[in-house]
Symmetry: C2
Subunit: 415 residues, 2 copies
């Protein structure tokens, strides 16, 4: 990161954010927007809809950062305080912009509002020196100020409106801050803990520069960054870093950036012209939900049978009832027969299966909650493995589904 890089302070305004009624997703939108100009967010704050709180936060952030962006509080009601607090802080008059009011009224009529209460006049109040930025996704315009090396951008709160105003302000930001050459790449892994990644990468950490490891229940992401003056060089640098990480982590890497396990598995199936069927018990449909989230998955995904009741396992998937009676529904032979059964039922090349105990009840000392058997049958060759996941019901379902997709990915790469 070059010295002297511009950082921004971001302030979210709204009681509902601090009351936990609404999650703040605007910050991610703003971070992604600012990245285009090489600007990072240095600090974020959230305060209540109170003039004093807004004023002191903006004052403090302005002292630390040349650019301050606020979200929320631009509506017309009594608890929308942003324009008043900012005008007061900067000792600016609030000016009523008639042309803005006309736009607001037109927009409200488009939204089929029957009568337009006077309160909407507040939309037209702008602190002197601020420029209204059109908001095609809502009513409240953004408000922009730039003087004496200080830049302040007031955005509405709803994410769609934040996006709309940021889009409009982009040319101005390009002019003020210049385009950046910061490029990021995410290397996505599954089946390797964060500390093991850190350990494996420790000898190349210096060469990689800025690395973030982001663990989640469905794997660890390695986020790489490169920056510089020449685009070609920056691109080459990030590719080289990515190659280094992929080489070291090997098969634990399943993809890059927006890749998901279900997308990567789908690509292999499509490339190899293999069709897949799924037989699920404890995952209850999640595996096929994930597979079918990928556009175009109908090219290789044929179908799924969720066999929750044992009779369905027997009658639809052809699992022999003696097998269930002898080994139990949660067992290696049942997972095996389910994977083979769905392959035969749907006349496809690949069958995968899950049978386990998602909990919270139903566990025994021998078969605890979280125990899941998974089967993979590829053209007659069938393999079963099991895991014990320590998580709640949804967690067991999710970890089973992703573990199975990852195992299928590794299996397909082998054969």
């Amino acid at each position: 990161m070059p010295e002297g890089q511009i950082k921004a302070g971001v302030l979210a305004i709204g009681d509902e954010l601090l009351a936990g009624l609404r999650i703040n997703t605007d910050i991610a939108l703003i971070a992604n927007f600012l990245e285009k100009f090489g600007i990072e967010i240095g600090e974020e704050r959230t305060v209540r809809d109170e003039d004093e709180a807004i004023k002191s936060a903006v004052a403090e952030l302005s002292e630390r950062f040349p650019l301050v962006i606020t979200t929320g509080g631009l509506g017309p009601t009594h608890d929308d305080r942003t324009r008043y607090a900012i005008a007061d802080l900067l000792r600016k008059e609030l000016v009523r912009k008639e042309e803005l009011l006309e736009g607001v009224k037109k927009r409200l009529r488009e939204l089929e509002m029957q009568y337009i209460p006077e309160i909407h006049d507040n939309y037209a109040l702008v602190p002197q020196g601020f420029e209204p930025i059109p908001n095609k996704a809502g009513i409240a315009p953004g408000l922009f100020y730039h003087a004496d090396g200080k830049t302040i951008l007031l955005l509405p709160g709803p994410p769609r409106e934040v996006k709309a105003v940021l889009q409009k302000i982009e040319p101005k930001f390009k002019e003020l801050f210049g385009q950046s050459l910061v490029v990021k790449k995410t290397i996505r892994t599954f089946g390797i803990p964060e500390v093991d990644i850190q350990d494996k990468l420790k000898d190349v950490m210096e060469e990689l520069g800025h690395v973030s490891l982001l663990p989640s229940p469905i794997g660890v992401d390695v986020v790489l960054k490169a920056s510089g003056k020449k685009e070609k060089k920056v691109r080459e640098e990030i590719e080289k870093k990515a190659e280094t990480v992929k080489h070291i982590l090997g098969e634990d890497v399943y993809g890059e950036d927006d890749d998901t396990l279900e997308k990567v598995v789908g690509e292999i199936l499509r490339r190899r012209r293999l069709r897949i069927g799924v037989a699920e018990s404890c995952t209850g449909g999640l595996v096929s939900h994930l597979i079918t989230n990928v556009p175009g998955s109908s090219d290789y995904f044929w179908g799924n049978v969720v066999a929750y009741d044992n009779k369905v396992k027997e009658e639809v998937l052809g699992v022999p009832s003696e097998l269930i009676a002898h080994f139990g529904a949660v067992s290696e032979p049942v997972a095996l027969m389910m994977a083979e059964g769905i392959r035969k039922l749907l006349h496809v090349e690949v069958g995968i299966s899950t049978t386990g105990i998602a909990g919270p009840t139903g566990g025994t000392p021998k078969k605890p909650v979280g125990l899941v058997y998974m089967g993979i049958s590829i053209m007659g060759r069938t393999k079963v493995f099991h895991k014990i996941f320590k998580a709640d019901r949804l967690g067991v379902k999710e970890q089973s589904a992703y573990t199975l997709l990852d195992a299928l990915r590794r299996e397909l790469l082998k054969c």
Copy 2:
């Protein structure tokens, strides 16, 4: 809100939050937790993984608020700075707690970690005077400090771990801050727009007092609040408000608080001793994933067939091929035959079905992307309806699934 009420400052720590790589949902968990003790969050901040940033934020928040809660930065790696910054700020030694290290090692062995690198010793470093709070969902314990009227709670970052530590610390908070008499109730609706709810409730808004409407893609929540000195009276007040809202909104209300459509539908099925089977096409397994997210759903959920390929619709669900040839797979008669087909295949009383175009491709002028036919077959009586959802692929799947569950709920209430 009584004067002198305690407010808390919350600090989230993590580069990834400011880089927009991760959304902060912990704040909602903390807000809901604190509400039990009548504590509101006065301000929230997010800073980078840098000692100085953490120190100055905690120092400033501590000046304003008697209670400061931080999230993140408690892991063992080089960018986990919280314990070091806090120890430095409060001029406390970092003490190595051997018993904590034993717990960490035991836990890592449970997670089947092959070797335990030395870096994990950092988990056992605790600033003097801080008490470790067990974290059953992860490895890093919470750290709690209370002296001279100052309370500091350091939480891990992942939401599940935040929940686990908060649960453990609850008795201590009860002791320190006392229970509160602020009670909330959420009335959950589906199928009615926010503006219509606002309109219907406008005559009772004053009586209801503090009301928040929270729209989401899967319905609008009406959040009610009551407070006072006597528990019995507060409970009666919130119940009365809830009754008022439920009476006015009628069947559009499907539940309260933690109720979900899938849970409510499950309760009706269980009560009526009805078993259900699902036949999905465009929703790809999501409907049965939702149904099986409910603990105990195996009592009434028998199974699911995802019939993506038309041959599966024909061979497994018994949809006549002439029907598909004549009307197309996305059509009223096919949805009808799918709902009846699954009912017969699984020998159950209730069958439901989806067939549609999830997109982004596959639409035609007559059958656009987002068109979904849904069928409900209850003991021989079958009904089909359709909707055109304007959303992306996942959005179409989600809206179809919830619309179908809601339609099934209304249908079951009728018969």
